[in-house]
Amino acid sequence: MRAAEGVRAAHVARARTARGGPGGLRHWLARRLLLGAAQTAAVVLLVFALTEALPGDAAVALAGDQPDPARIAAIRESMGLDRPAVERLADWATGLFRGDFGTSLASGRPVSTYIGDGFGPTLLLAALTVALLVPLGVGLGVLAARHEGKWPDRLVSSATLGLYAVPEFACGVLLITVFAIRLGWLPPTAVGYGTDLLAHPAALVLPVLVLLSRPVCTLARLVRAGMIDALASPYVAQARRYGIPGGRVRYAHALPSAVTPATQQLARTVDWLLSGVIVVEALFVIPGLGTVLINAVAERDLPVVQGLAVVFGVLTVVLNIGADLVARRFAPRGEVAA
């Protein structure tokens, strides 16, 4: 698995870099931004079409178990749902160009407040996760690579394998049961803390652990594979034979090339974090974007769903461009001229 992922990330990096073409950085960036805009637009269109195709609309969802046709019609009218879908989308899109995300169908509040409120907790979770993920994943990977084939390596390798197979919800239930309910060390949920999670750091421990569980495995395994390759490389041998101390060889010479493929993986973690966040937010009652998304889909609150699609699309695009920039900077290009 590790090699596969390493290979994969490296290939993706190479493929992407290659696509950049021979033009300069600016040309490449312009192309990528253009592509990113197209991607985001396509995501929004896709999400709009899918949400529109969902059975029922916001009015039906709001009517719930009292689907009185007259009431549904009235709600529909008050929400403006009686207008054609294309018209609504066009309105929303023109609003978007002015930086206006529109208003929620369900509450009439601006979508930006939904995104603004949900963004904080999710960003906090994601930032904490990534901040811990990198040192932890890299550290474990390096540790395993240093002791390749010995017990630390086996321990790390099998632990990451096992953990990787555990879905977030199972992991969350387990951690809550042990650390919050049985041992009582940590709060089981963040219920009632609202968006001010920083004031309750203890409540963040378990969610972040759950979010970390799978990415750490991938990262550690990628770094381990890259590190093993790097430690066996001629340039590391050269550094060793010229008397560079072991620690410096590992961290300054082997690690940078071991981490490059992992950068790509890190960008892909966004997608991952999002799905993780949906589950984790539900489990731990954290009112972030995942919760907003689930609720909005259930309520058929199209403007909110679209607003979120824009946010996620832009995030994905930006992070991928960032990762590609890193790869572009590092990936050796073409053969060396003699």
Partner: protein
């Protein structure tokens, strides 16, 4: 050298054993499940049910026997169908010299790649309320962009080798070049990727079940069992623990197998 190969084979054996138990249960289990007994009260232990009863009072052991097939088949089908689409796309775009064709094949995937996979699954599943087949296709769809890119990248590497040009100089057919050489050269990397992807797919299927997508809420399915029975975790843990362990074993064993296969390849490359 010897110790290395010993280690590799022992890892292979461990992987095979770990993956074998759930796989056998999944594939052969339904043959031994027999007729359903009368329903008992939910989440009870004993009373002729050696793993107790589940959330609607069914025998857990019988559910375990029945529940693997859908997980394994959905995950396998999803992985296979992702590759069925990704392979020709990736190979074609790696081997073509027409930029427009490559763009046509690969660009739409970039778009798909930007959609959060779980969001896509949630929405599409809500629109089409898919069954097992639908879920497999959906999970496959989510995996296609990534798989196609890997196929293309791996194949592009192989396709750039002089061996491919040599085949062209020999007037070999596209088919023989693409499948016989490029595909074959990429096979190992792709097999490894498929192993990882299978794990990812299992995870997606399980998480989709957690979010109530794509499977009957009372389906005999390990992932569904874990989700639906977890309310009874404190009363009757087996209904959760056994299927959960089986899923973990399936993914872990699969990964061990892939690892040992790669180890094997590395060793061969060394010697």
């Amino acid at each position: 050298m010897k110790s290395l190969s010993m280690k590799g084979s022992s890892r292979f054996a461990a992987g095979a054993l770990i993956v074998g138990v759930p796989l056998l249960l999944a594939l052969l289990g339904p043959l031994f499940a027999g007729e359903p007994g009368p329903r008992a009260a939910s989440f009870t232990a004993g009373g002729g049910h050696w793993l107790g009863t589940d959330f609607v009072g069914r025998d857990v052991w019988r559910q375990v026997l029945l529940g693997g097939r859908s997980v394994v088949l959905v995950a396998l089908a999803a992985t296979v169908s992702a590759y069925l689409v990704a392979l020709p796309m990736g190979l074609a775009s790696a081997l073509t010299h027409r930029t427009w064709l490559e763009e046509l094949l690969m660009r739409p995937l970039d778009v798909l790649l930007a959609v959060p996979s779980l969001l896509l699954i949630l929405l599409v599943a809500a629109v089409f309320t898919p069954g097992a087949v639908g879920l497999a296709l959906l999970v496959a769809l989510v995996n296609i962009p990534d798989a196609a890119r890997i196929v293309r990248a791996t194949a592009a590497e192989a396709a750039a080798r002089p061996a491919v040009e040599a085949l062209r100089m020999q007037g070999e057919s596209w088919w023989r070049t693409a499948v016989g050489y490029v595909g074959r050269s990429a096979a190992r990397t792709l097999a490894a990727d498929a192993g990882v992807r299978f794990t990812g797919v299992l995870y997606l299927v399980a998480t989709a079940a957690f979010l109530g997508v794509g499977v009957e809420p009372d389906a005999s399915d390990w992932a569904v069992m874990v989700d639906r029975n977890r309310t009874g975790l404190f009363v009757q843990p087996w209904a959760v623990v056994v299927p959960a362990l089986l899923i973990v074993a399936l993914t872990m064993g699969g990964n061990l197998l892939v690892d040992s296969a790669l180890e094997h390849r590395k060793k061969r490359r060394l010697t």
